[in-house]
């Protein structure tokens, strides 16, 4: 429980060159939280973006108050999701941590996340179940996604339908434990967290999410990504 006895949600947003998207993401989050009446804070962890992301974040801090928006910079060649989360958690005052990308791909109503909170340790968004889905994906991208997920399910049997989505809610102590144990980089880190969570006996709930493709900027997916995905998958296969 947070200090005042209620639940508080700390949203961690690792950013790199998200100047266009950041205000929109923050606005959506603030609106959703205010509608649901939950106590929240948004922690923006920026990797030294050259496009002025930090400046926008500071403006947002002034508009919404620095108890609600917190901007932290880390400039380090080791900036990967793992280090961003560790850094972000140090400043988080909530008892639940929400992790999402700041690229507007995750258009989610946090209501359903909260609802799914049947006392789960982790709630994960899934594009593959229920009325979850994607928008603006061509056949090739869908095929790669489904194919990769199939291989992942066969090899890792993770107990969650979508491992590479990165909209998740964790109990703070669960996230702390997992970030200690997980060693991968980037989105393989996200996969590793779910696999290890299952091994440690944490409960995982799923919520269908609509993954709307990037409105601004470029989505970080290419041929290299596929190769590194397979490498990461095989590493997890051999080490977890």
């Amino acid at each position: 429980m947070a200090a005042d006895g209620g639940d508080k949600f700390s949203v961690l947003l690792p950013t790199y060159n998200e100047r266009e998207n950041l205000p929109l993401v923050v606005w959506l989050l603030v609106r959703t939280f205010r509608q649901s009446g939950n106590n929240f804070e948004i922690i923006i962890i920026d990797d030294g973006s050259p496009d002025g992301t930090q400046e926008i974040a500071e403006q947002l801090e002034k508009i919404y108050g620095s108890d609600k928006i917190v901007m932290r910079e880390i400039t380090s060649i080791l900036f990967s999701s793992g280090t961003a989360y560790i850094h972000g958690m140090k400043h988080a005052t909530g008892n639940f941590i929400v992790i999402m990308d700041a690229d507007l791909s995750h258009h989610v109503s946090l209501y359903s996340i909260k609802q799914k909170e049947g006392n789960f340790d982790i709630v994960s968004g899934t594009r593959y179940k229920g009325n979850g889905g994607v928008y603006g994906w061509d056949l090739k991208r869908k095929l790669i996604s489904r194919g990769a997920n199939f291989i992942t399910q066969v090899l890792l049997r993770p107990g969650a339908s979508d491992l590479t989505g990165s909209f998740r809610l964790y109990r703070k102590e669960v996230l702390q434990k997992l970030t200690e144990k997980c060693v991968s980089k980037g989105y393989v880190f996200q996969m590793e967290m779910i696999v290890r969570a299952r091994q440690l006996g944490y409960t995982i709930g799923e919520v269908p999410i609509s993954f709307v493709d990037r409105v601004y900027g470029e989505s970080k997916l290419g041929g290299n990504e596929i190769v590194s995905f397979l490498k990461g998958l095989l590493t997890l296969f051999a080490t977890t």
């Binding site: 205000p23 606005w27 508009i63 258009h107 994607v134 928008y135 609509s210």
Partner: protein, 92 residues
């Protein structure tokens, strides 16, 4: 045990059972028809798994939802957000 470890154990178990029964060192002989049926079993299973994989991925590909509504809703939210933030003094 790692997943790799589990797979290796499982394969070793099934592999040795198959080898024992199908390749049949004398003393453990099943009748010939059974041995002949067992011999190509690993290949059959592999092919069956391949078919299952194709069918499953194909089905999942076909039923992959497209979120038209969510996209439209998002566009509305973006306009509203830009409006509101501009009013509050955000310089984009």
């Amino acid at each position: 045990m790692t997943k790799l470890g589990q797979w290796l154990c499982g394969l070793a178990l099934l592999g040795s059972a198959w080898a024992a029964l199908a390749l049949a060192p004398p003393g453990l002989r099943l009748p010939a028809p059974y041995r002949q049926a067992l011999l190509p079993l690993p290949v059959y299973l592999l092919v069956a798994f391949g078919c299952y994989s194709l069918a499953t991925v194909g089905y999942r590909l076909a039923t992959f939802n497209d979120c038209e509504e969510a996209a439209a809703e998002l566009q509305e939210h973006i306009s509203a957000a830009r409006e509101d933030l501009r009013r509050r003094g955000l310089r984009f």
